[in-house]
Symmetry: C2
Subunit: 755 residues, 2 copies
Amino acid sequence: MATAYKTIGQRTRRLDSPPKLTGTEKFTADMSLPGMLHARIVGSDLAHGRILSIDKSAALDMSGVVAVLTNADLPIHRDENDIPAAELLAAEEALHVGHPIALVLAETEAAAQDAAELVVVDMEPMPVVSDLHEAIREDAPRVSADKAGAFEDEAAMHNADAAGSAEKQEDLPPNVSNSANFERGDIDAGFAEADEIVELSLTSAAIHQGYIEPQVALAAPDAFDKLTIYTSTQGAFHGRQKVSDTLGMPLDSVNIVPMPVGGGFGGKFVLIEPLVAAAAKAVNRPVLLQYTRSDDFLAGNPAPECAIKIKLGAKRDGTLTALDVDLLFDAGAASGSPLGIAAILVGGYYRFPNLRIKGYETKTHRPSSGSYRAPGAQQATFAIESAMSELCDRLGMDQIEIRLLNCAEEGDLRPNGGEWPRIGLRQTLEALRDHPAWQQRDAAKAQGRGIGVAVGGWPGGIEPASAACRLDGDGKLTVMLGSVDLNGTNTAFAQIAAEGLGTGVEDVRVQTVDTAGAPFAGGTGGSKITYTVGPAVQKAVEDAVEQIKQIAADHLEASPEDLELVDGGVRVKGVPGSSVTLKEIARMSMSTGKGHMPVQGRGGSGIATQAPGFAAHLAEVSVDDLTGVVTIHRYVAAQDVGFAINPATVEGQIEGGVLQGIGWALYEGMPYDEDGQPGASTLMEYTLPRARMAPPIETVLVEVASEAGPYGAKGVGEPPAIPGAAAIANGIKDATGVRMTALPIQPAAVLEQLG
Amino acid sequence: MATAYKTIGQRTRRLDSPPKLTGTEKFTADMSLPGMLHARIVGSDLAHGRILSIDKSAALDMSGVVAVLTNADLPIHRDENDIPAAELLAAEEALHVGHPIALVLAETEAAAQDAAELVVVDMEPMPVVSDLHEAIREDAPRVSADKAGAFEDEAAMHNADAAGSAEKQEDLPPNVSNSANFERGDIDAGFAEADEIVELSLTSAAIHQGYIEPQVALAAPDAFDKLTIYTSTQGAFHGRQKVSDTLGMPLDSVNIVPMPVGGGFGGKFVLIEPLVAAAAKAVNRPVLLQYTRSDDFLAGNPAPECAIKIKLGAKRDGTLTALDVDLLFDAGAASGSPLGIAAILVGGYYRFPNLRIKGYETKTHRPSSGSYRAPGAQQATFAIESAMSELCDRLGMDQIEIRLLNCAEEGDLRPNGGEWPRIGLRQTLEALRDHPAWQQRDAAKAQGRGIGVAVGGWPGGIEPASAACRLDGDGKLTVMLGSVDLNGTNTAFAQIAAEGLGTGVEDVRVQTVDTAGAPFAGGTGGSKITYTVGPAVQKAVEDAVEQIKQIAADHLEASPEDLELVDGGVRVKGVPGSSVTLKEIARMSMSTGKGHMPVQGRGGSGIATQAPGFAAHLAEVSVDDLTGVVTIHRYVAAQDVGFAINPATVEGQIEGGVLQGIGWALYEGMPYDEDGQPGASTLMEYTLPRARMAPPIETVLVEVASEAGPYGAKGVGEPPAIPGAAAIANGIKDATGVRMTALPIQPAAVLEQLG
């Protein structure tokens, strides 16, 4: 861009760095309120069992224990037909190991913990459905009575594309809670004209979001049945609605105070708030529930396991002719999975004249699945990008050229029939092609390394948003937001505001306000906050600037059109001497008798156009043929970010996403045995990538401006977490000739494949 | 008015009634934070003394005592010349009895109280200036070194008219900190043409605001030098500025959370917040300071004592010819008094062709004076309205007719040369004249009762204000405000918002937001909140309604101009079937992909025109000639309120004001002896009117619409507290022939006068 910006586009220190870097940030669990009780959940030992009785007596006898609550003790709203709005604790049946059955409330955390172990739950074992393929059989035992899909809402928050995309079918097997079905062209004819066909069967394990700060919320009731809930959440307004619906409280009786988030990654879109709120109401005291790490594994909302069969056909020149995919997603104990998104993306990156995509989501006796940074995209991408590389190898083509040949561009259709808007998939591939790591691939290969390439894309979330701002008495602008600050979003908004105001970032403040007083904004997730809240901030600041100019015009006896904002003040264009500072204007705006009004801006955004973000990754890997251990030596991530408002945080986002992709590819996984018993419930059993597992990561920012985003910016959160598994698997194939199809790719499996 | 309003103008239950009526409201002192310390002040025993030493040791030895802070211990900001921004505790000299010298911080209130008594302050007595007339002598001992006036700011907040009105003079006696000087016409010629001249010398005691909840604030520091201050305040943003200035903190490092106010009446415009904030910063722990009742008497900010000499001349027909007034106001230990307002009002109610008004404000060794509901107006009105009645008696005229003959109207000049805008003084007098209590005065007199009449007016405060609103997911509108809710202001705003929205009050919420996120608004005082914030609310709602109509228009496929808001929805005019509810619109506005934006309104007001409010009161009294006890049998208050948005709360305001006027007239007073020792430091020694002292009060609402107020409304807070003392004194004169000139009018004095 030719325009010279002053603050946007500049590497800017994150506003939230000081407290986070110095360890002095106050998180929810650091809070304490007078009379506050600590809560601990009592979870099910069985993956499926009928609750016969709950003996609270030993727990209640413990000193410091105030209550042991079961579902019946909670003030859950019931509708006119006496149907409860939710089951916050397992009432009759526990549906997975760790399913919360009771909540112990005590004066101290230690007492709550000790007492939780004394609660005796007598259960009758019931048939367990643990395996996905078993689960979808017509004759499978039913996981639970409930069948309705509940994920739609949340999927829409992440990705508008998914809303309503998964078609409902009548004759689904009993545990199947959702299905997807897309067809285009003639699939048989497509394969018939193919010169080469690849078929792969892939799996991806359940993955935990891996945030450092576990789920935590503190609910404090007041004397008027109002609740203030301090919570580590990605979606304050969403949480308000959920608590309000669940407890049957008026919206304004619930105030969500969004606290600093110690990692969310999609896993903090309201999980425990209704339970904590209900508990606080039940005992009329503040209640703090912080999950233990085990709670978070057993009763969190991880990314689901899935199995994908993919069949790909192409002509000799690399032109794709047909795609046939079968998706099977776990939903866990309650319905809901990112099946719809996966179904669209698996067939969306490339032009397929003929395709058939069919998917099932099934319930199992596992924790209900949730969102994890690019839900559905990682699994779908692992499938399509493994298959593409496999096909490429068989055709003897160049990995990047075959992708450039087929890649979707503006106007191409997604499997659901929707047209792609302007996207930067081609440009990221070109950036990767031009990168030294690709150019020098022969040198790497000569060292026995493999080069894996994969692309990934995210349709991009949209949700209406609003912002407000106010010129304070000291001449600084305060931006008030209802969106939660994650990964530097507030810093980007400060830059946007400062740019509009003609000042530096230090003259702008960004204030996350609780739901009682905040402008509405959607959840922070789905790569949409900068994209949707950013324009609202821009407009709010423009609104304020107009008012600032009007006051300045009165003061300087000039016309507002002749004024410009520079260096923290307003001046008559071309007359440097004729100026007034923002502080003077602020004072005038709040001074009695001058006829001015306080400067107060508001802006909204109702973007209906998605701005999909694409990334092309390259992993340079080697495999130790004695141990099977995979080492990543170099990693390149090219990403179309539209416009990098703060390149430093955008790069940070990309690096973090890459590392999560590496975790997904090589280390992470939550296995379940046939009894539904989890194989990972601590960080000893669940391997998050450590610093030594992080390769040097090179980022390349590609800027294909979006239409609606602020200064062309697009969401950058999801895309970097998508292509990792495929890129690494493709690198392993390139290095060893072995195609790994099950995530995580563990050394033992590699060794076995290597023979 | 012919327009049919739906919610405004209706008697509406106050939104804050339930918690206040049930005693469950949570006030500042009900709060407790982890680690919170309780503070207690150590006040001076002497009215003037040099602090030689402060021995903290015994106090610090007490269990639970954490600190004993003196002024030197407080982190008060110093400017580049090392001049401190304030002296929060007496540093070298104590200037009045109760002047805070040290602050004890302890784990419990009891420990703080006990320890405060163990702090030994060694002081050297210094000359005490207690009497006002002594204080203004050229050779009087200096009260303190400081001379600059500090009241201007606050006076302007109450009453724009006062700002800058008091002229500065060069050769003032040493303790005189301000003066007023107004002249018009030829005063000598004026008295020369008078047929009757009245001269009175009147005094009014210092009066405490008498709020039930003492001064209280809780300051909580965080790890980043930010302070959250929960406080019973009338002015949140004003408090933020004061704390910021005093401690040298950036504005956004101070967040004022306005708590429910248990009575303010002008006395809670930031008194203890800077001290509590400084203490909290000094020890880096939350600090709660709640004044004891004694603290509040000794270290509060009461209405000042004053002495007024007034001379009034008139022709036989009642036409006024001249006014000569000398005002003497106490400022207490620091400069600042409502002298300027009093000087304007004493000569402002009537047309005086010739006048001379001269006033002094003097410092004394008493607590610094503050604002009390209509500061300066009560004293000035007691003088002018006593003199008017006296004159009327001598002329043998009708008390109301003489006032109607001379009363100021739109365009008449105030002593400071400013023109009165449209006022309702005449109309309130006419309303009183037509009232049965006046019409049947002969019957009352036949029972030995006296009928006293007096008028009073308040110029009306103005200050820029802003408001925001938001349509919530349940279709209800939340109005967000930075103004503090007092006496039903938020209820009036709910009515204004509901009227604009075409709904009932139950579909509107009003949220007082802390200074971190609130739209700017001035202090709640000076009879200006409904007048100035009201239009901001109106505009914010109009802004929202425009957006609502736009969404409805899209949905109904109609033009926004063809739509109307009725019954919680929007419909096409004349097409009842074609409608959409606010809830549906709210949902659409926040739904993804529809292209709508969240509905969010903002509005500001920068009113430059005052809307003075006038009241005419009638007191029917009798005097027991054995005891001197005055009984009020009937009380009528006619008041021009412009437009009564909520008649119920307006009447409540009037009744409360009348009762405060009665307290001022007959019961309340804070005397000081020559050593500056107070005669009242508890509610045993200071008589607030009790229920049995409250006569039946009849209110008459007169509605002379203001130009700028919402629906013509004017401020209603101050006027009802103004004419009381004069009306009652005039009633006593009417009943007994005795003119009482010293407030409070106590039985002994009445007996003495009766002989």
